[in-house]
């Protein structure tokens, strides 16, 4: 059980109405992870959503050719593994605690059971997920187009 005040500190959940957060709270757990703990491994199926309360998490990804890239340092208030709420997807990155991390954890299976029983909660959360993913997809499209526009094959020096 995680209190609603703590859930409101998570950006992913912050805009949801209190009555929805009150239904999510009993399904959430708080956990502390030591530095170097791997929370998510690239290409493995995700079952949990991690929401960082304090500490920091490093995000790394390997390309198809095996080259690694450090992409981001997650700060408190941000979430990882949201796509687990949609079903079984392999993770597209690896997430490692770089500090002692206080994290709110949601079980995707429990959340899916909640969504099936209470469609109002399911709609509110899925609408939030869809909007987040749409914005991110548009960002990826813009990044891809930008990468192409500066690509040496298109803009030879």
């Amino acid at each position: 059980m995680v209190p609603i005040d703590l859930l409101k500190k998570i950006q992913f959940l912050a805009d949801l109405p209190d009555d929805i957060l009150e239904k999510i709270g009993p399904h959430a757990r708080q956990a502390v992870f030591k530095p170097d703990t791997i929370l998510i491994r690239q290409n493995q199926e995700q079952h949990l959503v991690y929401m960082l309360v304090s500490g920091s998490i490093s995000i790394n990804a390997s390309s198809d050719t095996g080259q690694g890239l450090t992409l981001d340092e997650i700060t408190p208030g941000r979430s990882l593994g949201v796509s687990a709420l949609l079903g079984k997807f392999p993770a597209t990155f690896t997430a490692v605690c770089t500090d002692t991390c206080d994290v709110v954890v949601l079980s995707a299976d429990l959340m899916q059971q909640l969504f099936a029983l209470d469609h109002t909660v399911g709609y509110a959360v899925m609408q939030r997920v869809a909007r987040l993913f749409k914005d991110r997809m548009n960002t990826h499209t813009r990044q891809f187009v930008h990468a192409l526009s500066v690509h040496p094959a298109i803009n030879p020096v």
């Binding site: 950006q11 992913f12 995000i59 990804a61 390309s63 198809d64 050719t65 080259q67 890239l69 992409l71 981001d72 340092e73 997650i74 941000r78 979430s79 990882l80 593994g81 949201v82 796509s83 949609l86 079903g87 997807f89 597209t92 990155f93 969504f115 469609h119 109002t120 399911g122 709609y123 899925m126 609408q127 997920v129 869809a130 909007r131 987040l132 993913f133 749409k134 991110r136 997809m137 548009n138 960002t139 990826h140 499209t141 990044q143 891809f144 187009v145 930008h146 990468a147 192409l148 526009s149 500066v150 690509h151 040496p152 298109i154």
Partner: protein
Amino acid sequence: MVKIQDLKQISMLEPMPDHLLALIGKQAQLSIFSTGTCLFKTGEAVDTFYMLIMGQVALTVSLNPDVDVILENIQSGRTFGSSALISSGPAAYTAVCQEPCETITLSGSRMQALFEENHELAFYMMAGVARQYKKTMDSRARMIMKTLALHPEMKDCIHDIEKLTPSY
């Protein structure tokens, strides 16, 4: 009015129970477009959600005034224009029929009104839309990662590289 059997050809609607498909069918229309028809352009407000029964639709963006890039070719069973179901924001791409296309269309504003009345329908549709965004998002991220792996010097050209990760 569109039959449930026709709606079942759309992969996004596969998990949806028949009683919800019947509701969608009442709101849906069958439309046929000829080759070269531009369904919407980048920057235009989109109020129609398209489900492709037959044909192929190219989603394109302009790289510069001389070059257009095909982001994706949508084929039968797939959908596009999902933003009509969650907002009336501007289109991020241009959609052009590559061949004669048979589509099922839904009015975004009417569906959004229906979502407020029926949260079960709203949940299933939003989950479907989110899954589609997720697949496209991952596919675009892989393309960028592949490009960066081949040309690491380009990493400096992408200022918001942290947004390649699905963290929110």
